[in-house]
């Protein structure tokens, strides 16, 4: 057998696209249908025969995307259709690949936040958080982060979960023709982003959570802003319930569509609402707690059927859970420092630079060459709105990561699409993509 590398050197690199049905081998069919359930090839081959019209020209392979309004960015799906039925589907990605992991190797730990925050641009604060936690673990300072910084991180991370899920509700509505929901969802998300703008200076891509703490303290009046936000969004969620959850058309479009079982979801390494929708109560905030989540009271929302409706309902209710968490965080927010007072990690305050030579030197060193991180490698995972986001950093003792890898939940979750779409309708394909809620910036990195 020639190795794949020799094949490439000979200029015969295999194509990324969907093969013609008659060229499929049993093993490839197994990949598409059977392997998730750990079937034998024979069983899978039997299952592979969806009722196909005997004349093969009845099926056609079409491209959906990469420029398509309901693929949430530049996701391309190759679909094999028979009439309106999806026989096979293959997601093709990479259109937004900008080599962010390679870029991450060029940036210091100080600058790294600006890079990772642009991966999942819908929940940037979670990306920054996981990167900071991994860096702090390597530095050995993860237990020395000031309490206020920890609680601020939780506050921002939960608000970000709300804004991300509100955006999901908006796009999910839009994809299914509930256009007013789109407007409502964007409107409420904008309220959250306005708060982020007040705190961090930016609506998105904040680079606010940094190794050692956060960039700045909360601004004056933040508590009133958050309370206003909670008062505003609570009743709006009830409106969404009236508008969509109980509405027959909405239920018809989502219930029983894109079903994935718990066994399949675990085998495909799906996480977040996609996994919980299938009835697996797995939430890293509860099951492998980080920050101070054990001190807070919240529920893990779990579905039972694993269909698109469950994933919708989970996200809607997770907004409510996040509001519960934010309310508790408001009560418990301690005072104190917002970043660690370790001169090697935290730049000195601006005022000190004018008075102290040492402060000037630290400031200069941190911003030119960055701080050094001891040799080692860690993997830290947290629960982002889309699932488990993990950061793997290998350090060689220098000021830049030797390797920085982000385990992107969307990248893994879109592997579920072929299984969810199989045998469904093209119109439901849109509902299925939407229900997985991929962010292509994170898929392609």
């Amino acid at each position: 057998m020639t190795s794949i590398l020799e094949t490439i050197e000979a200029g015969n690199e295999p194509a990324q696209g969907l093969k013609r049905r008659e060229d499929l081998t049993a093993r490839e069919l197994l990949r598409e249908v059977g392997s998730v359930l750990r079937m034998s090839e024979a069983e899978a081959a039997k299952l592979g025969d969806l009722p196909v019209d005997p004349s093969e020209d009845q099926t056609m392979i079409i491209n959906m995307g990469p420029q398509h309004p309901s693929t949430h960015g530049v996701l391309r799906l190759m679909l094999e259709l028979q009439g309106e039925t999806v026989l096979r589907c293959k997601p093709i990605i990479g259109y937004l690949h900008t080599g962010m992991e390679k870029t991450g190797e060029q940036l210091t730990y100080m600058q790294g936040g600006t890079n990772v925050t642009r991966m999942d641009y819908v929940s940037p604060l979670n990306n920054e958080l996981v990167f900071s936690l991994a860096t702090e673990k390597l530095l050995g300072i993860e237990d020395d982060i000031p309490e206020r910084a920890v609680w601020m991180r939780m506050l921002l991370s939960e608000l970000n979960r709300m804004s991300s899920h509100l955006l999901f509700l908006a796009t999910n509505g839009m994809d299914l023709g509930a256009v007013s929901m789109m407007i409502y969802g964007w409107r409420e998300r904008e309220e959250v982003l306005r708060f982020f703008q007040k705190v961090t200076g930016l609506r998105m891509n904040h680079n606010f959570i940094r190794p050692g703490g956060v960039a700045a303290d909360l601004p004056a009046g933040w508590r009133d802003d958050v309370l206003r936000l909670l008062e505003l969004i609570g009743p709006r969620l009830d409106e969404y319930d009236t508008l969509m959850t109980g509405q027959p058309i909405w239920r018809e479009r989502l219930q029983g569509v894109g079903v994935i079982t718990a066994q399949e979801a675990i085998a495909l390494a799906a996480t977040g609402p996609t996994l919980r929708g299938s009835g697996v109560p797995w939430d890293l905030r509860r099951d492998q707690p980080y920050l101070r989540y054990p001190e807070l009271d919240f529920d893990v929302i779990v579905g039972s059927y694993g269909d698109a409706f469950d994933r919708y309902a989970i996200r809607l209710n997770e907004v409510r859970e996040s509001m519960k968490l934010v309310a508790q965080i408001l009560d418990k927010m301690p005072s104190g420092d917002f970043r660690i007072q370790n001169k090697k990690v935290t730049p000195p305050p601006r005022a000190r630079i004018d008075e102290s030579m040492e402060a000037l030197i630290h400031h200069f060193k941190i911003f030119t060459e960055g701080f050094k991180v001891p040799e080692g490698e860690v993997y830290v995972a947290i629960e982002s709105p889309r699932g488990e986001i993990g950061c793997y950093i290998a350090s060689d003792g220098s000021a830049t990561p030797y390797r920085m890898h982000v385990r992107a939940p969307s990248f893994v979750n879109i592997q579920c699409l072929p299984h969810m779409m199989r045998g469904g309708l093209v119109a439901d394909a849109v509902a299925v993509i939407s229900s997985v809620d991929p962010v292509l910036g994170e898929v392609d990195r």
Partner: protein, 174 residues
Amino acid sequence: MTDDAHPDAASDAASDAAPTELHGCPLRELYGQSVLFVPRDQYTKVVRLLLADGFEMCADLTAVDYLTFPNRTLPDGVAAERFEVVVNLLSLRDRKRIRVRVQVPADDPSIPTLFDMYPGAEAMEREVYDMFGISFTDHPDLTRILMPEDWDGFPLRKDYEVGKIPVQFKEAHA
């Protein structure tokens, strides 16, 4: 290498490393995380045992190219090679993680696929192949996933320089 700023962290990591074994492979606790160093020829066998132990989800699979950092700390008996495939397995039942590190030599960058045990590793293995040129034997669909299919080279390798690629805009003139 120790760093003057954080001597505790470095020595912690070293003293944490109480040598133990799991399935005949060295197991280390680094930064409170379990890391298992598996030789390549036992990779499939050990991962199958871990699956039987309850690690039912392959949370992450990636690789590191240690071309410019060959003297990294490894347990005795593990010979450093250029590539390292890193697999993070997760047990939902026991709420545990374990990380499997496999040394992959530069002259034969290949390793068996985990697809039969963890179908979810499919896209991750394609990504590693795409970025590092490590081929996964018996992978059902080993094609580039993020880069265009006619791309030359493997971007995350350390000898692949940043900025060396000719600009792709063919018709553009300066």
